[in-house]
Amino acid sequence: MPDLSTVFAGGIRCPNPFWLASGPPTNCGDQVMRAFDAGWGGAVWKTIGEPIVNVSSRYSSVDWNGQRMMGLNNIELITDRPIETNLREIAEVKKRYPKHAVIASLMVESKRETWHDIVKRSEDAGADGLELNFGCPHGMSERGMGSAVGQVPEYTTMITEWVKEVARTPLLVKLTPNVTDIRAVARAARRGGADGLSAINTINSITGIDLDTFTPRPNVGGASAHGGYCGPAVKPIALHLVQQIASDPEVGLPISGIGGICGWREAAEFILLGCGTVQVCTAAMHYGYRIVEDMIDGLKTWMDEKGFATINDFQGRSLPKITDWKNLDLNYKIVARIHGDKCIGCELCYIACWDGAHQCIHVDAGDRSAITVTPIAKLDSLREGDGKTPPERIPRVDEAECVGCNLCWLVCPVEGCITMEQIDTGKPRESWTERTGAAS
């Protein structure tokens, strides 16, 4: 069986790379211990700092096509419990679960002494590492903390340096996606001496508006404030930002991937883009800690199938396969093929191609003049249906016109009904750079 045990950022050991991200699921020692019992390899404690006061009504979500919580938004702040309580519980968890990773997420005012104090106390409590919360985009940022730090590279370097002056355990900086170029902040963290990065924190968001009261959600006494967006909806954004920092030679730090991870598939994707561990929050908030069982089981099964013995065996494997557009092969050509034996006749590919793509899928119009009546045995000679799609409902692809955009394949509800097939153009590989002679 593959081995999922991990050593992250130069010394954080854990039985598997699945960590709970800093948030409601890691609010107290009892929760974290139950999470470890369920199988989680590590937990980043709900951000510790001077206790705050929260508002009531804190989350809102985006549902999609009848599924709940495709995206989740929150306006909850850091811990509302005293620093001493959190640290005492960290000590207790570490005593009972010495092999699991407990990371202290920290956020205090931007004073050197204050940061020194909280770092020392956290490490004294037994934390295996530190995560500086420079990413929280709501509430705390209005007080000069969270993303207010993470959006300014100089502040990021400065506070990271302060922490490194006293830290004995690995130091992670959690990045906000609410910047123009996440690499600038990642480099700043590197300059300050960070040992690793966590990415991404939540994305500024307003999830929706109640169309009866006109109040955006979540409703706090008739008003709302922007929150931080997470959950399945943000995964593609998170993957891109992780790839940006993982590919940047000036960053070169281990990454704990965060953003829309619900199962082993997303975890594998983040690891393929270079992450050493992954962090999960929304999925655990939705379904509970138990989801980690299939994350571990599914990842191991997949690794077995692919012949990977450890996380290292596939970590970063997809990074070389992401390049700039200008380097892509202009002579690579695919076209859509519709396999009539699998087609159910929904014609979604036809209308998608016709209205949304390149007008190269065609259907033959059926007979519109016929009068439809209810078939009744005593009045009609009933034609027994053979259960097959009527031929006139199976669309055709004009391959000469098909540009290989994938849209029909994406909208087709039937697995394997439309395939994208490579066509030999007889031309050698040639990129835009090569064709135009521009410097790559």
Partner: protein, 441 residues
């Protein structure tokens, strides 16, 4: 007679709904399952061509009123159709998900969800603007075909009067559909919607209280939607005994009267959907045994398979290859039959076997052997052609041999479903509108 006098409480208890409605959350989940096919087969399979994906996506988007209006735009009797349509052989039968190893979308229940929401808010529909050249149309018969014809004409602004010879309008929707599928009160709500469009209703029999001549004088077009009239007679001795009640009369009685007599052992004669409706009703009204006799076999039976299955669950017993030869006192004398080779139409005729007669003891007989066809007056006085007892029309327009007369529904199609009658009525109305517009131009 008023709607308040209907035996609603008893029938709610004896005939609880066959298919309970979807609640809002279930409707949303089901609506989201719809693929939203382009040029969808379900819409093509509907005789009225309701734009099914469109109304389903409006349920998913939370636009229930828009969903209902999409349905009503194509089919003014969307409420009753959502309850009585044999969706297995229509919209749901053509759902592409059948070919994807999935349950078809529950289109009937979704349509009902939209219609129930619509009717929950005392609805009305606005008539179309008064046309430049106004015209008046009379609809004879108060059933689905006439209602659909009248509604479509009002949407184009023309004046319509419906003449109906029963105490309440609605035709078989009010009097003839099994109670666990559609209640008269729901049929009457649809009548009220049609009335809200400005259709005038007169409960008066044409040919008696109102003469055909007066219709000819006062109306530009006349639509005939009179249905099939009474059930066919069996044509055997003893048929006039008091314990013989034809199926449509039996059904109409229990739907509209508080006192419906039913025997202890009931024999139903026939193999159609009406025979099954009557058999199920007899069971639910207290008959200990209900026996359906059909002269052919299960395979030739015209009833829909799901209706047959349902009747078996109700406890109805079926007897094949037997036809009645005489109604006796507290018994029916049957003759056994055998099936001959298929004739030109492909049907196998049932032939009585000599010497095979037997008596079956019972205390009530319900013949349900198809409806008779009473259009003789029209044929005689207006030269409207009949074809095998049905009014002959040009199918796309519903126009008869007499230019002023159109027809649709059971009296044309021989007795199909509510949705077929609606489609007939709508087509005829649109054909009249086209002719009026052409004659004006």
């Amino acid at each position: 007679m008023s709607a308040e006098a209907l035996p609603l409480a008893r029938n709610l208890e004896r005939f609880p709904e066959l298919h309970p409605p979807l609640d809002a959350q279930a409707a949303l989940v089901e609506a989201n399952r719809c693929l939203y096919c382009y040029d969808a087969p379900c819409a093509a399979a509907c005789p009225t061509h309701i734009d099914v994906p469109r109304f389903i996506k409006k349920i998913a988007s939370g636009n229930l009123r828009g969903s209902a209006l999409t349905i009503l735009d194509a089919n003014i009797l969307g409420l009753s159709c959502s309850r009585v349509c044999p969706v297995d052989v229509l919209c749901e039968g053509s759902c592409v998900l059948h070919r994807y190893n999935q349950k078809p979308i529950e289109i009937g229940l979704l349509q009902r969800h939209a219609m129930d929401a619509f009717y929950a808010k005392s609805p009305f529909l606005a008539a179309g603007p008064r046309p430049e050249a106004p015209a008046r149309v009379a609809c004879i018969g108060g059933g689905p075909a006439s209602l659909a014809c009248a509604a479509e004409l009002r949407r184009h602004g023309y004046a319509v009067t419906v003449f109906d010879d029963r105490p309440l309008p609605g035709g078989l929707n009010t009097y003839g559909v099994a109670e666990y599928k559609l209640r008269p009160s729901d049929s009457l709500r649809e009548v009220e919607l049609v009335r809200s469009l400005g259709v005038e209703f007169r409960q008066a029999e044409v040919g008696a209280a109102v003469s055909l001549d007066s219709l000819d004088q006062n109306f530009d077009f006349i639509f005939v939607g009179v249905g099939l009239g009474a059930m066919e007679r069996l044509g055997i001795p003893g048929e006039d005994r008091p314990e013989v009640v034809d199926a449509l009369r039996f059904i109409a009685h229990y739907k509209t009267s508080h006192e419906t007599h039913v025997g202890r052992i009931v024999v139903v004669i026939g193999g159609g959907n009406t025979a099954i409706d009557a058999a199920n009703a007899a069971r639910r009204l207290g008959a200990e045994e209900v026996h359906v006799f059909y002269r052919r076999t299960e395979k030739e039976m015209p009833a829909f398979p799901f209706e047959y299955e349902h009747a078996k669950v109700e406890g109805v017993q079926f007897h094949w290859l037997a036809q009645p030869v005489e109604i006796l006192d507290r018994a029916v004398k049957f003759s056994a039959t055998r099936l001959a080779a298929p004739d030109a139409s492909g049907r196998r005729k049932a032939e009585a076997l000599p010497g095979s007669e037997f008596a079956f003891v019972c205390d009530m007989v319900i013949p349900a052997v198809g409806q008779g066809r009473l259009m003789k007056l029209l044929a005689k006085s207006r030269g409207i052609g009949l074809d095998n007892g049905l009014i002959a029309v040009d199918r796309p327009t519903g126009r008869t041999a007499h230019a002023k007369y159109y027809a649709g529904g059971d009296c044309v199609n021989g007795g199909r479903e509510v949705v077929d009658a609606v489609a007939d009525g709508k087509r005829a109305a649109l054909a009249m509108v086209r002719r009026l517009e052409i004659s004006r131009a």
